[in-house]
Symmetry: C2
Subunit: 173 residues, 2 copies
DNA sequence: CGCAATTCAATTGTGCACAACTGAAGAGTA
DNA sequence: TACTCTTCAGTTGTGCACAATTGAATTGCG
């Protein structure tokens, strides 16, 4: 007897779909398929999976692509500024930028003005890569199957969600 | 002269907000703040930051919590089934489950029926942890500031997005 | 001025995530 | 039955992410 995992985990009948509103038991609230955070996590990884081969042709990982996006807009940024833009700390950015530098896309140098900070600047090669990246957004956009309105709504929704979560985290600490 | 990173990166005036609809230049499409994938990525990390201290009290990381959610629903699952539920492969799950086993929350054993697969089963301690986890969903829900309707809409939107991206990734490979 | 507090980038340690691969076990077929 | 194909979990290597710490540079305050 072979019981497919899909049947067991997706179409399962053990937990009848109770009305969404009203006081759902804590039993219901702990269901995996009720967790928005998991849906978010899954969507993020699905995006990553789609981007991975496309970015691979450019020699970039997804977080490296995000850093390049910021640099294509600003040409030169300190590690601190990049961290604010990408919501990443130096522990993540330092090795990432080191790899971008090894790939010849950026150069890093300590600012003369403030010797504590490090400026990250695009090289000619890094600037040139922008041209090859231009096709990416449309390719990915098409893959979502979303129209402009849906996408905007989702984007705004995510923005508010992130702000609310940030606020809650800050209040807690 | 001190120019705050926020001014430079968030409120920047270098790129006037063009109408969302219509043919935006590729220049516009590469803007970091236009990337839904980045908004998703950021929201996911914001969730993680909120969960981290709460889960820390239970001795769990966020992915470990997701695995426990699946197990609290099913008591016993193979690594394969868990991977389908969480969208993770054995390369991620094997060490994660090893840590859960070291923490005494689960036991792993080769199935007698099929010696290839490994069953993951909750221990008494693992089952008991569920009671302490019950408060989490409501705490987190409250932090989002979203009402039931918004949350459901977001959840559904993410579901469709993930399915579409999965489809596109599959067609490409 | 001089010293404490802060800022900034880097490092270390832990854990997640995926690709590529390994090896064992089962399934299907000539 | 014997052979191949597939399935499953685990390992290795690379890279992201964060906490905690370090050390240098700057700022602020007495």
């Amino acid at each position: 007897m072979e019981r497919s995992a899909d049947t067991a985990l997706e179409g399962g009948t053990a937990h009848p779909a109770r009305s969404v509103r009203g006081a759902a038991g804590s039993e219901e609230l702990l269901r995996l398929d009720r967790q928005v955070c998991f849906a978010l996590h899954a969507a993020s990884r699905a995006f990553d999976a789609l981007y991975r081969p496309l970015l691979g042709e450019l020699g970039l990982t997804y977080p490296q692509y995000l850093a390049m996006l910021a640099l294509w807009e600003h040409d030169v940024l300190t590690v601190k500024e990049l961290g604010l833009a990408l919501r990443l700390d130096s522990g993540t950015l330092s090795p990432l930028l080191k790899r971008l530098e090894a790939a010849g896309l950026v150069v890093r140098e300590r600012s003369r003005a403030d010797e504590r900070s490090v400026s990250v600047r695009l090289t000619t090669s890094g600037t040139a890569l922008k041209r090859r990246a231009r096709v990416l957004p449309e390719t990915v956009l098409a893959s979502t199957g979303f129209d402009e309105g849906e996408l905007t709504a989702l984007h705004q929704s995510l923005g508010r969600l992130t702000a609310a979560l940030d606020g809650a985290t800050a209040r807690r600490s």
